[in-house]
């Protein structure tokens, strides 16, 4: 088994899965119906990406696991998503900032992955990159409107930026498996995308009169299964039925 490729694919798939799961929690509760439909579209894109990536991960693993087996029958410490993806929705500003950070990172990442010599990964990435560019634009539009809206929205955006900023180091962390795949030319190093990320996000925030926090947080761990307190709770909800009925087909 190509262990490092398997791990890299679960990192990608778990990011989409866990963030998609979080966005599902908005369904029926968004600020207007139009925004509700928009957030559902983002979640549907992410769940679709997760299915493709985790199915492929299962094939690489060669143990007969598919996307559902990986999604519903692993424990928190076996999940390889970034810490940012699992953070609770919070208010709409926190959801927007979380998505701005993630989609800006992911659209650049998937653009590079679309040129991967791994044909299967390149094909998945070519589809995903179009979706993620839309996500990044969606989040940027909202960041601008909330940042330059009312006093209240501006304060909430500043708070949300500060809240999520500590997870950005983890977002760009190249763990051993990812670095091994990068050395083989299958994926780009995440660190190589960080400069562009900070430039793009800063430009968006600047238009809204906001700025990225300066403080450097050294937190990492998502890629190696050391998560925040929130992930196992999320999984307990998400996995309840397949765990309670392991023999069942749905």
């Amino acid at each position: 088994m190509d262990h490092s490729l398997f791990r890299a694919l679960t990192q990608l798939g778990d990011d989409s899965l866990i963030l998609g799961q979080r966005l599902c929690e908005w369904c029926g509760h968004a600020p207007t119906i139009e925004v509700d439909l928009g957030l559902s579209n983002l979640a549907l894109d992410l769940i679709g990406q997760a299915t493709l990536l985790l199915d492929y991960a299962g094939e690489v693993e060669g143990g007969g696991r598919d996307a559902d087996a990986l999604a519903f029958h692993r424990n928190a410490e076996q999940f390889a998503n970034c810490l940012l993806a699992e953070q609770p929705n919070g208010d709409f500003a926190r959801t927007v900032v979380r998505h701005l950070f993630f989609a800006t990172y992911a659209s650049a990442l998937y653009e590079a992955l679309a040129a991967s010599p791994d044909a299967r990964l390149a094909e998945i990435a070519a589809k995903a990159v179009k979706e993620l560019r839309y996500h990044a634009d969606f989040a940027a539009d909202w960041a601008e409107r909330l940042g330059d809206g009312t006093e209240e929205s501006r304060a909430r955006m500043a708070e949300a930026l500060d809240w999520h900023w500590r997870f950005v180091n983890d977002l760009f962390h190249d763990d051993r498996d990812w670095a091994a795949c990068a050395a083989r030319g299958l994926v780009p190093l995440r660190q190589s995308l960080r400069y562009g990320f900070e430039r793009d996000v800063s430009a968006i925030l600047e238009r809204a009169g906001l700025a990225l926090p300066r403080k450097v947080w050294p937190i990492v761990g998502g890629r190696s299964g050391q998560h925040s307190e929130h992930l196992s709770v999320l999984l307990a909800t998400m996995q309840v039925l397949p765990r309670a009925h392991p023999e069942a087909v749905w």
Binding site: L17, Q21, C24, E25, C27, G28, H29, A30, P31, T32, I33, E34, V35, D36, L37, S40, N41, A43, L44, I47, G48, A50, T51, L54, A67, D68, A71, F72, D91, F92, E144, R145, L146, D148, G149, T150, E152, S153, R156, T237, M238, V240, L241, P242, H245, E247, A248, V249, W250
Partner: protein, 328 residues
């Protein structure tokens, strides 16, 4: 999703204040199956009835997102999760189309939402029942959407143009909703004993509320006649209910499920199924907002709207600043 259960028609007494000539011309147009469009003259009672019916329908779509949303985060496979999310998203879209159709009658969405949140407006009582296991999601698609479709298909030819056009779009999109519910239950029917038990439990709880969705029996639905004359409604409650029972019984058999009605019997003479008496006391209690989850549902909607206020205001303030810059 929709039900005419609350289709109380405003009394026509203020028809007396309408210009009789215009009223007669209007009634003739509608009787000839012509469409009424937003700027056309229409009787006040017709306008009020429509605003009430369309907004109730819209509220039902929006509140209806909640019982299904309850299982969205626990859908047992990625595909079921995506299907359920797409389906709930459709309900949101349908609510949106319907609010817009009602707005053409001169009532703003804000006002309609306010009427819902303050308890003045009703929504389909079916959504005040809880979703207790995964099979409920299948039962909602199969029975609740199935009943809704019977109500909605004739409304594609309803007399008010914007309403009819919204219904055409809604019916087209809803065609997958009932099928996905049945497909979900088929998977359970082929599954473990626990899965089969879930299905039967869901059917036991949803069968009677689904029958109630068609509204009170015809003899207790005094305003139906006027609604039918105005082409706001096209078949009576009892006609539609019978149609639903006849279509659904064989579908239950195929799933290996038992409909919880000892009086259910095929009547050779009528060519229809006979079925047991409906507990209308329960129905009226739920209409009064005494359903098991009524408080949760309306609170969830109020909270969503209130928690989103700062977002709506911020986006509007942003646009106002931009417009001011352009003007300067």
């Amino acid at each position: 999703m929709y039900t005419t259960e609350l289709g109380k028609v405003s009394p026509l007494q203020d028809g007396a204040q309408e210009d009789p000539e215009r009223l007669a011309a209007f009634e003739a147009r509608v009787a000839a199956d012509e469409f009424v469009e937003p700027k056309d003259w229409m009787p006040q009672a017709y306008r009020r009835t429509l605003v009430r019916q369309i907004s109730q329908h819209a509220h039902s779509e929006i509140v209806g997102m909640l019982p299904e949303g309850n299982w969205l985060t626990r859908a047992p496979s990625l595909q079921r999760k995506a299907i359920l999310l797409a389906k709930i998203q459709d309900e949101g879209g349908h609510g949106l189309y319907l609010y817009c159709a009602a707005e053409t009658l001169g009532t703003s969405r804000e006002e309609m939402i306010d009427a819902l949140h303050s308890g003045r407006a009703k929504y389909s009582t079916i959504f005040n029942y809880p979703t207790l296991n995964w099979a409920d999601i299948g039962a909602i698609g199969w029975l609740v959407d199935g009943a809704a479709i019977m109500n909605q298909v004739p409304l594609q030819r309803t007399s008010y143009g914007p309403y009819a056009r919204a219904m055409v779009r809604i019916c087209k999109e809803e065609s997958f909703h009932q099928r996905q519910g049945y497909d979900l239950l088929l998977a359970l029917a082929k599954g473990t004993a626990a899965q089969k038990a879930m299905s039967q439990d869901a059917l036991n709880r949803w069968w009677w509320p689904a029958l109630m969705m068609f509204g009170p029996p015809d003899e207790n639905s005094p305003n139906s006649a006027q609604s039918i004359r105005w082409r706001i409604k096209r078949e009576t409650n009892d006609q539609l209910r019978q149609k639903f029972v006849d279509a659904t019984v064989p579908q239950a058999e195929l799933l290996g499920l038992t409909i919880p009605d000892p009086d259910l019997n095929w009547n050779e003479q009528r060519g229809h199924y006979d079925f047991g008496a409906i507990e209308w006391d329960e129905f009226y209690a739920v209409v009064r907002g005494e359903g098991p989850t009524a408080k949760e549902r309306i609170t969830a909607r109020r909270d969503a709207w209130a928690n989103g206020a700062w977002v709506r205001e911020a986006a509007a303030a942003f646009e106002a600043k931009r417009a001011a810059r352009v003007a300067a």
